[in-house]
């Protein structure tokens, strides 16, 4: 087993972890903006979970009004700065762009959105402030994208928000989970700062639902509750005891994101990643960037079935990551309690089911990352009954209402979500609107 820190020099690491999609130069932005056709009932808007008025903000950029463009963006999506960097735009707005259909080259909506939001952040332009106080108090659990979005919209609507966050920093996966090369220059933290600057939101750090307080407490003390605590658990390989060298990708990325120096992070010479989602790509690429010599992603299904988009897969391949399909781990090989390799089993797909082919292959490795999905743990919401669940997640209606009155939920912890920052933002926004309507209706009655 060969896992060690500091495989690369500080300079190399800095170069490796620079922005994946760098900021646009003003001229580049203008040229890119002028490609937009200002479509009627634009498909890109329909494809955006937060329905940002994309043709309008791009026209504003083209008309030398990037600050106005930022206001358009942030009014629909308060996390427009991060979404510009982390959205799988190729599956969303850019995938729907008519220029993608006609020329195979979409308008660069993501980078233009970044251009606009960067301009507003750079100019210190605050578009929002807490509305006139309604006297209503709302508890929001989890300061990730869903919780922050909900809290922000509630504050703008004049409600007093208490935002509970178990971790040291707010931001959720934007702060702890997104690949470092997509969130350079502390943008996640700057965005949180921007959101909280609206006023009317008090953040309580280090308090965890189920451990430090119960859902019933919140229902008793507040006029409404929003649950946006994400997923606390990760799936296991189910291969028995895990030797040293087997790690959880989500945990490792969180460590990487918070590391003072990237050269402190121990990384293997030969690394295997199990999984096929964004986390698998993120950990594989970052392992390579940290200096791993060989990085292999093993995915149990075909590449087309990977939750990671074609673009993400391309990013991995450009970084030098090998992607193996239809292979799943069968045995973890250890020597003296330390990982030595993994036996991968070839599988085929028959009528949607994975069937072992009977053949296996050995892959020597020093380090293996599990990136096979996260789960909602009962303790994440206090283990309390009364919340209707589906497939292990909280069931909500279109207004993000749970089965309990006064309790709303959104983000990764609810059933049917897309596991995207942008859909979490939309959940929070919709829930805030629904909470506001509920409280207003109650007042009127």
């Amino acid at each position: 087993m060969d896992i060690k820190a500091g495989r690369l020099s500080a300079d190399q690491l800095r170069a490796n972890f620079c922005d994946l999609a760098p900021a646009m130069a003003p001229n580049e932005a203008r040229v890119a903006a002028e490609r937009c056709l200002f479509c009627h009932d634009a498909p890109c808007v329909t494809a955006c979970p937060t329905t940002i008025d994309i043709p309008l903000f791009i026209r504003q950029i083209a008309a030398h009004n990037p600050i106005g463009a930022a206001e358009t963006i942030l009014s629909a999506n308060i996390m427009g700065a991060m979404c510009a960097r982390v959205c799988p735009t190729e599956n969303l707005c850019e995938g729907a762009c008519v220029r993608e259909v006609s020329e195979g080259k979409a308008v660069e909506i993501g980078r233009l959105q970044r251009h606009a939001t960067d301009a507003a952040y750079g100019a210190g332009k605050q578009f929002f402030r807490a509305g006139p106080a309604t006297g209503k108090r709302i508890a929001v659990v989890g300061a990730g994208p869903a919780g922050l979005s909900c809290a922000h919209r509630l504050a703008v609507l004049g409600h007093a928000v208490t935002l509970y966050e178990a971790r040291e920093k707010a931001g959720g996966l934007n702060e702890y989970g997104i690949a470092a090369y997509k969130a350079s220059d502390s943008i996640a933290a700057r965005e949180v700062e921007y959101i909280l600057a609206v006023g009317g939101i008090s953040v309580v750090h280090g308090k965890r639902l189920g451990r430090d307080f119960r859902l019933a407490d919140l229902e008793r003390d507040f006029d409404a509750v929003f649950l946006g605590m994400g997923l606390g658990g990760t799936n296991t390989l189910g291969l028995g005891d895990e030797p040293e060298g087997v790690m959880d990708a989500v945990e490792y990325i969180a460590r990487l994101r918070q590391a003072k120096a990237l050269s402190d992070l121990p990384i293997g010479r030969k690394v295997v990643v199990i999984g096929g989602g964004m986390t698998a790509i993120d950990i594989a690429v970052q392992a390579k960037k940290l200096g791993a010599e060989e990085v292999t992603i093993a995915y149990r299904r075909g590449r087309k079935a990977m939750p990671a988009s074609d673009y993400e897969q391309e990013v991995a391949q450009i970084a030098g990551v090998t992607i193996r399909e239809y292979q799943r781990p069968k045995t973890l090989l250890a020597a003296g309690g330390k990982l030595a390799g993994v036996e991968l089993e070839y599988v085929t797909e028959r009528e949607g089911k994975l069937v072992p082919s009977g053949e296996t292959t050995m892959l020597a490795c020093d380090q293996l990352f599990k990136a096979i999905g996260q789960t909602l743990l009962p303790e994440d919401f206090g283990g309390e009954g009364g919340l209707q669940m589906k497939s292990g997640k909280i069931l909500v209606d279109s207004a993000r209402r749970t089965s309990r009155p006064k309790v709303f939920a959104g983000g990764d912890c609810v059933f049917g979500g897309q596991d995207l920052t942008v859909s979490a933002v939309e959940d929070g926004k919709m829930a805030a609107q629904a909470i506001d309507s509920m409280l207003k209706a109650a007042k009127a009655a």
Binding site: V31, E34, R35, L37, F38, C39, H40, D41, A42, P43, V98, R99, V101, S102
Partner: protein, 441 residues
Amino acid sequence: MVDLSVDFVGIKSPNPFWLASAPPTDKAYNVIRAFKAGWGGVVWKTLGEDPPVVNVSGPRYGAIHASDRRVIGFNNIELITDRPLEVNLQEIKQVKRDWKDRAMIVSLMVPCEERNWAAILKRVEETEADGVELNFGCPHGMSERGMGAAVGQVPEYVEMVARWCKQHTRMPVIVKLTPNVGDIRKPAEAAKRGGADAVSLINTVNSIMGVDLDAMSPWPHTEGKGTHGGMCGAAVKPIALNMVAEIARSEATRGLPISGIGGIETWKDAAEFMALGAGTVQVCTAAMVYGFKIVEEMKSGLARFMEDKGYSRVSDFVGKAVPNVTDWQHLNLDYVVKAEIDQDLCIKCGRCHIACEDTSHQAITKEKDGARHFEVIEEECVGCNLCAVVCPVENCITLSPLPKGAVDPRTGTPVGGTRTWKEHPNNPMAKNPRPALTAAE
């Protein structure tokens, strides 16, 4: 093999592409480069009397940019040549001697006195230049001194100066017209009456290119003050084409040779001017934006066009479109076109729909069976062409005439009649109004 050479009022040049009187033709260095690049001729930048004028040292040029900063409109406040007359004359003489096959026309502008014109013409003749062009167009600086546009806007002056010039020189005289007039035919007629051999047009259009909203001054400006300049470039081409056509088809000026100027960038632009009657074309802006090499594309494109159409020399198609330029009242009101959207080319941007829906005739759908789908509703379509104009895909939306005998679903009237406004019953002045065709006809 087609022959691009032209003989324009006795001035011979190997191709019809001349550089207009402007900065690119201000001195021997530039003109020699132009001839090396293949230009058929030049109109040397306007000469005046000594002492030479003085240009501003603030910015001289402004522009309108399209996407990707393509210059579609360009303006200037530069004056005539600011070099001594003798220097220019010597250079003209030398260049003409070295480039005998190229057209060398000299642009002139002097005060409105016969002796001034007589004097300068005599000196130009000594250079053995092929002809002169009278600059009656310059809209700034010179016009304030009673020259340029100040002459061109008064037909009597145009006629008078043209006559003087014809009297005092054996060289062909081309009168350059300013577009800053109400009716371009008047100065053209005046030039013809005065005996001018040809007219060239258009000179630049009075313009303020923009306003600097920080300085609250026209843009560009000299120390916070700006003035109108003369605009040229692609954006003025439609104005120029119309003016050329008006002169070409007007009874009084029909047959008067024309050198076409205004926004010519490619062979196609040039061919359009020529189809409307221009025997040569003059280019400035495109050369100033892209350099002299553009003439290679122009020559090649024009030759290919002529070959394809079976024209062996330029004169075969000069003026060929003139008979088809007419007045609105002669257009057939019984001719009906309908827009059609090629669904295979459609990229579903919806621009045609919203343009028609918001601003025109509500004749384009936006969905079909719940899906995004743009299709023309023939019952509403008036064939206005707006959808085709706003469509970002070339040839996706086309307008096709309804066949003779078909019934226009919008009006219920059979198609195929020949009524113009002059015969239409809605025209109170119609002498012989005719009803629409009936289905039987």
